[in-house]
Symmetry: C2
Subunit: 514 residues, 2 copies
């Protein structure tokens, strides 16, 4: 047993002894306390482990050139604090932890379900030379970091210490900015109706908890935003899938199926993303929206409208959000700066009124006592100074260029029997596969070829199969996009050749018996 | 019906016309689109409300000096988008919202319970000349705002766009800093064991959800941190109170009662604040901690240790946190910078291992996809550069001075039969009342006298009465503290005089019948 310990220093020797370094943290304190503190440190650093015997008092006193009573006092004080135990006739030992056999307390069944869900969706590590079409995240190379830093400094210079206090209800300036911004999309809301939250994802977990109790269900589009599935499962809810189509007579959620699902008493709300749907990339028309609202109103079930992409239209004409078509309070829109600015500010919002609004405020308070006002004030300043508008203009132009590059490459290289719909905004294109191709196989083969795509299954409730995959063009420049699609086309070609060859063999084998 | 609309401008006229202002947002676009966009704007601004009739095509064409077909095209395009409806022979009308009768969808019963709880605890508005002893918040005048702003700029300069991306698992630098900091308190943890969260309050809601499902209970000290009650109720849990004493033979939670409560199958964990307890201000001894750990280990129930105040000791010797005495993994410590630095950064953490750690990570991801890394990196930089240590030294000195000022004033002015325990750290002193005084009455009378205190009931499960109140000395300077205690003493004196007078009257009244 050995550990680092230095002779204590008397207070009157301290002034001259600047060269001693910091190991003896309490110079100037009584000698016995300096010794005790060094022993405590050694226990904390685990140089002295539980059960270790301390040096005999006279030995340590000799080593440290102090009186035995000083060491005795140090040991007594450690014993009284419980750091060491004196066993009569045997010496002084470092106390052991009270409980040491590992205990893994049982988890809530709700959480076990969430862990099963999460483990079924563990993301791949991305090799560095891979072209990444899989993740719905903006391109960090285009983040307006400097302008944002200025906004952050402005906000702190103006708001000062106040911004670093508690954030009851969220920064007022950000709520004003969001209300004014959503008004431009036709959504009428007072700043007081805005509940800020950590990204729209937290908004969804709050709204889900407001209307549904564990065991209940929330209707979701299928396919849908995959994190939404985890969020709902995380609060003990069952996502109830409603078929949703990228193409056909009426793109969007199947309204007849929705009507049936919303009629179920256990289904408490509907989560939908009508504008630049994730993962389908489509935007529903106004007529579809009207019918959807009528169905929800008839069922008396709230609609959680994910409006996180509404600022990302780069062509075509805007369709009013569901929340702009509704005066009943049944639509709770979720907004976020994550896709249009950057995710790392975690600035999102949900709008509500009446008891729903009170419920969301109370839930937010009971979840984390509110958001970081510093970042909220910075985003508000960023928007007010026009930076956000300018950033959006540039970001939409970039998205349009990248989207076009991907559409052209798809047109040129992919087989004719694969289908996709050109988006008018957002980050992604959904590719629908013919029956002979399996999205998971395409995904695995593409990964080997250095392209990462998002196979459709991950946007489905666990265990349900999808016939397509999502491609994100937001993260790559046009050259990478073309290269990635060329590789993807090669992969699909190989899969088909292999499949035809396998069938050929199967026919041959069959032939010998026939 | 009138609304602002300007003549559209041809693209070739645009260059010269800088004086026009920004009302016509799409200069350079086709004329009909410019007109349509202005009408959309008017609908968004609600200058044109649902049901309003648009001007006849020929009238608007004349007014705007364009061809009728241009206005016709604008109206058609608005109709195809659903903004307006054309009724044959009657004109063109602004479309109404689809659903308009107000609908307040039914809330989850769990949330109704939370609302009842919240409404029972609505805080008072604080008149500006009131001396505030009621709120457990640090003093904004002492926030190191400039040093923090430098840390923020350093962090953004170093981390750049990366910090503004998604925050999977929390900023690595902050997790390292927290692990190293807690090691100084004897808590051994790898950075990977640290789950960052929005203040310790979110940590508690995550841990509670990890171990308990709605309908289950979590044991809490009574009195306890009042926000903890809302947090538990917010996730559908029942706080199960265990009596906890400020003074007596053994301050802290009643261990026999705890043993009985933890034996109940529905009780899934115990939330405790052994160091500078809120609201009692006390710190339990090592022996009490050992027995507590043994009880929890025997019951196999996890302990959520609120260690948010451990950096705030200003006198006496430190007692190891429960987590430092435990090697079993049964103790999950919560840490936060809210009380030692400032709340507004929302930087907290919970430590765990094994499946509990996986569960907390999954729950955090499913709650909000992670925290704002910018602020986390700034706090990490603030700690690493020594600012945090320096700030703590200063803040602890200030707390000691304020605490002493309050203790002296209490000693000098309060009646002898009121009792309190001098704290060794933290923000607050608990005052225990004799039977003839009611904490709610003292609170109400003190508020009228310009002093705000926190009556004990708010730290109890709803409906249960407390015999004391909490005084926070952290927010006021010594002079304010003395003045506040003088006023408080006056109030107590008056209440007693009034009570004696009332009893006297009661005796007199009784006398006429006796």
């Amino acid at each position: 047993m050995d550990f680092a310990i230095e002779p204590p220093e008397r207070a009157d020797r301290e002034r001259g002894g600047a060269g001693r370094g910091g190991t003896n943290g309490r110079r100037g304190a009584p000698l016995y306390q300096q010794i005790a503190e060094q022993i405590r440190d050694a226990v904390r650093r685990r140089e002295l482990v539980s059960g270790a015997r301390l040096p005999a008092i006279r030995d340590l006193a000799a080593r440290l050139q102090v009186h035995r009573d000083t060491v005795g006092l140090a040991y007594e004080s450690l014993a009284s604090e419980g750091w060491v135990e004196t066993r009569v006739g045997r010496g002084t030992f470092v106390s052991g932890p009270v409980s040491s056999a590992p205990i893994d307390p049982p988890l809530s069944p709700l959480v076990s379900r969430l862990l099963d869900h999460s483990e079924s969706r563990t993301p791949h590590a991305v090799p560095s030379d891979t072209i990444a079409f899989h993740a719905l995240v903006p391109d960090p190379d285009l983040f307006p970091v400097d302008a944002f830093r200025r906004s952050l400094n402005d906000a702190l210079a103006t708001g000062g210490a106040d911004l670093l206090g508690y954030a009851d209800g969220g920064e007022a300036g950000l709520r004003e900015v969001i209300a004014a911004h959503l008004a431009q999309h036709g959504i009428a809301a007072e700043p007081d109706a805005v509940v800020t939250c950590q990204g729209a994802s937290q908004g969804l977990s709050l709204v889900a908890r407001a209307f549904a109790a564990p065991g209940d269900a929330i209707a979701v589009e299928e396919p849908t935003y995959q994190a939404a599935l985890g969020i709902l499962i995380g609060v003990g809810l069952r996502p109830e899938p409603v078929p949703t189509h990228a193409a056909g007579d009426e793109p969007g959620v199947d309204l007849e199926a929705l009507e049936r699902v919303l009629a179920q008493p256990s289904v408490k709300a509907f989560y939908t993303m009508p504008t630049f749907h994730n993962p389908l990339g489509i935007t529903t028309g106004r007529e579809h929206r009207r019918r959807l609202l009528a169905i929800a109103a008839a069922a008396g079930k709230p609609i959680v409208e994910d409006a996180c992409a509404i600022d990302l239209r780069f062509r075509g004409r805007s369709v009013p959000p569901l929340a702009a078509l509704d005066d009943s309070g049944l639509v709770l829109p979720l907004f976020s700066f994550s896709k249009s600015l950057f995710p790392g500010v975690r600035c999102g919002a949900v709008l509500a009124r009446g008891r729903s609004l009170e419920a969301l405020r109370a839930l937010k308070r009971a979840t984390d006592l509110g958001d970081a006002r510093t970042l909220q004030a910075a985003v508000a300043s960023f928007v007010r100074s026009g930076h956000y508008r300018r950033h959006l203009q540039q970001w939409r132009r970039t998205l349009a260029v990248r989207c076009d590059a991907m559409l052209e490459a798809l047109q040129e290289h992919l087989p004719r029997d694969l289908r996709w719909v050109a988006p008018e905004g957002g980050y992604q294109i959904w590719v629908e596969l013919p029956r002979d191709l399996d999205a998971r196989e395409v995904h695995a083969a593409a990964l080997r070829a250095g392209v990462l795509i998002a196979p459709g299954d991950q946007f489905h409730v666990a265990g349900r199969r999808a016939r397509g995959f999502r491609l994100v063009y937001a993260q790559s420049d046009p050259e990478e996009i073309r290269e990635g699609i060329v590789r993807l086309a090669g992969v699909i070609d190989q899969l088909r050749t292999a499949s035809v060859a396998a069938k050929g063999r199967a026919v041959n084998v069959g032939g010998t018996h026939g």
